[in-house]
Amino acid sequence: MKKIALAGLLAVSLTGCGGSEEPEVLNLYNWSEYMPQEVLDRFTEETGIQVVYTTYDSNEAMYARLKLLDDSAAYDLAVPSTYYVSKMRQEDLLMPIDRSKIDGFDNLDPELVDLDVDPDNKYSVPYLWGTTGLAVDTADVEGEVTAWEDLWDERFEGRVMLTNDMREVFHVGLRVLGYSGNSTNPEEIEAAYEKLTELMPSVRTFNSDAPRMPYLEGETDVGMIWNGEAVMAQDTMPALEYVYPEEGIIAWLDSFVIPKNAKNPEAAHKFINFVLKPEISALISEEIGYATPNLAARDLLPEEVANNRASYPNATDMVNAEFQTDIGDEALQVYAKYWEMLKSGQ
C-alpha cells in the first residue's frame, strides 16, 4: 500500500513537471518490488516512453481494479499469475499479443510456454516464475525445519509469519493433510481450515506487501516467504535460509498481459520486447531474485545467482511442487469464508 501511495506521488510529480509537450506514457501495473528501477530508467532512455509504475499485492486486487477500470483504460500492461491469466482470457479482458513485435519469444523455456492457461501464448508472455517456501532464520531457530508441518511445532509459538494470501495459506494447510493445494472439495478445504486454526496461536503476522520484512525486523523467525524475497533478504541477513518443504513447494508463473482497452498497446509491446532482451531479463532475475523463464538470459547470470538454489531449484526441490490453478468461483467463496473465520479467530 505504501508503494501505491508513492507511485501516486510519482505520477503527480510527473504530470506536475510535464511541461508543454506531453511525453508518451506506459502505465505498468505490477506486483510491489517486482521490477528494478534501473530497467524502467533504461527503457525510458531507450524509447523516450515514461513508465508510471503502480503496484498491487494480490491477484484479486489487480483483477478488481482492471475489471472496474476496464473502460477508462488506466493500465497498458499487467502481470497476473497463471490462474488469473486463464480467468481474464476467458472473460475477454485481454488483448491478443502481436508476436511480430516481440523478438525474444523463442528464448523462453519451452516448459513455461504454451500452458493450458493460455494455449500458444496468444494473450500472455511469461515474465518471472518463482516459489513460495519456508524461511528459516538459522541464527534464532535451533534444530531442523524441513516440512510445512514443522511450523505447527510448539517451539515456534508467536514466531511464525504467513503470507497474506488466501490461496497460499490454504495451499499449505491442504498439503500438510495430503490434499492438492488446488482442492475445490469443500470438505478438504474445511479440514485445511481446522488444521490452520491450530497454527494460528503461532502466527505473529500475515504479510504479502514485503514478506521478507518481518524476518529482517526480527519479528518472526520461521514461516512462509517467496523465494525472491528470501534472496533479497539474504543480502542483509545471510542466516535466513530458504527451505523446500517435503510436502511440496507452491509454484507460480507471472506473465505480461495487455488489458483489452489499453491506451498504449504499442508501448506495452515495446516494453515486453525490452524485458525479453537477455541482458535485461538477467538483470531483473539478479536484482529481484526470482527465476527468469528466458533461457538466453540464464547463461548471462553470474555464477552465484545461477547456482542459488533459492532462485533456481534443482529437480529434487521440485518434487511434489504444485502450480496454482484457477479453482472457479464456487470454491473461491468457500475459501473466502474460511479465510475470514481464520483471520477473526473463530
Binding site: M1, A61, G158, N207, G218, Q346
Partner: protein
C-alpha cells in the same frame, strides 16, 4: 427569484453545497444501497435479481463477532483518546492566546502527511529492533526487546495516534466557552475542586465529550489499514471485512451491505447524540 438575485453569493453557496452533497454524498451512497440488494455475480460483480441475501449473510455469527471485536477496539481507542484529550484540551484552553494558536497549529501539522505514511512510521518505531526498543535497551530499562508490533495494543496505539486530534478539538471548543464566573460561583457557594468538576465542569463539557467520542469511535471502526499494518492483518475491523469482500472475495453485495450496516450504526449513534444533547439542554434550562 428577486431575492435570489439580491443574494447571488448565498445562492451560489447553496447550489455548491447541495450539488456537492447530491453528487458526492447522496449518489455514491445510493449506489452502495443498490449494490447491497443485488445478486453477486462472478463476471460483472453484481447482477439482478434483487435480493436480501447479502443482509442474510450478515446474520452469520462470525460477523457479529467481528463487529463486537471492532467495537471493542474502537471503544478502547476512544477511551484512551478521552483520557489523554480531556486534560489536554483543558490545558490548551488555559494557555495564553498566542501560544494557543501555535499549539493548535502543531496539533494539525501531522495532517499534512498522509495517514498511511504516518502509520508506517509508527511501525518503524514499534518494531522489535525499532527506535523505541533500541532506546529503552540502551537506557538499560529493559533487557529483551518488547514485542509491541502485531498486537491489539499496537493497533490501539495507531488508532489513538491518528484520531486524537478529533477528540481534542471539540473538547477545546467547549473548554473555551466554559465561563470562568460559573466556576467562581461554584467555589463561592462552597463547592470544592472535585464537586465543581463533577457538578459544573463535566455537565458543561459533555457536548464536547460526546462530539469527540463520535468523531473517534466511528472512524476507528473503519480504518482498515491500521490493523493491516500494525496488527499484522490479525485483528479484523469491520473495515477489513468490507475491503476483503470487495477485493478478495469479489462479493460486492455483501461488502455493500456491511458498509450500510456500519453507516446505519453511525446514524443511530448520531441520533442518540442529538437526543442526549437536547436532554442536556433541557436540564440546563
Amino acid at each position: 427569484m428577486r431575492s435570489a438575485l439580491q443574494q447571488p453569493f448565498k445562492t451560489a453557496v447553496l447550489v455548491l453545497v447541495w450539488g456537492w452533497l447530491l453528487f458526492l454524498v447522496f449518489t455514491p451512497n445510493l449506489l452502495v444501497v443498490g449494490a447491497s440488494v443485488m445478486t453477486r455475480d462472478p463476471g460483472s460483480f453484481i447482477s439482478l435479481p434483487i435480493t436480501l441475501d447479502a443482509y442474510r449473510q450478515l446474520l452469520n455469527p462470525l460477523y457479529l463477532d467481528v463487529f463486537l471485536h471492532s467495537l471493542y477496539m474502537a471503544s478502547m481507542t476512544t477511551l484512551v483518546c478521552l483520557v489523554i484529550g480531556y486534560p489536554f484540551a483543558w490545558a490548551l484552553s488555559k494557555v495564553p492566546r498566542q501560544r494557543q494558536v501555535l499549539l493548535i497549529f502543531l496539533l494539525i501539522v501531522p495532517f499534512w502527511t498522509n495517514s498511511l505514511v504516518r502509520t508506517y512510521a509508527l511501525k518503524l518505531m514499534l518494531a522489535t529492533n525499532g527506535l523505541l526498543n533500541n532506546a529503552l535497551m540502551s537506557l538499560g530499562l529493559i533487557e529483551e526487546p518488547l514485542k509491541l508490533l502485531y498486537s491489539e495494543g499496537a493497533v490501539i496505539i495507531g488508532l489513538v495516534y491518528l484520531l486524537l486530534p478529533f477528540m481534542i478539538l471539540p473538547l477545546y471548543s467547549v473548554f473555551e466557552d466554559l465561563r470562568e464566573d460559573l466556576l467562581r460561583a461554584s467555589h463561592d457557594l462552597g463547592a470544592g475542586h472535585f464537586a465543581t468538576f463533577v457538578h459544573v465542569i463535566v455537565p458543561l463539557t459533555l457536548p464536547g465529550v460526546l462530539a469527540g467520542v463520535m468523531l473517534v469511535l466511528l472512524p476507528a471502526m473503519g480504518l482498515f489499514f491500521v490493523p493491516d499494518i500494525l496488527g499484522g492483518s490479525r485483528n479484523l475491523l469491520v473495515g477489513n471485512v468490507i475491503k476483503n469482500q470487495f477485493l478478495d472475495a469479489r462479493n460486492w453485495p455483501f461488502g455493500a451491505a456491511a458498509s450500510i450496516v456500519l453507516t446505519l450504526t453511525m446514524a443511530f449513534l448520531m441520533f442518540a447524540h442529538r437526543l442526549s444533547k437536547r436532554r442536556i439542554g433541557e436540564e440546563g434550562a
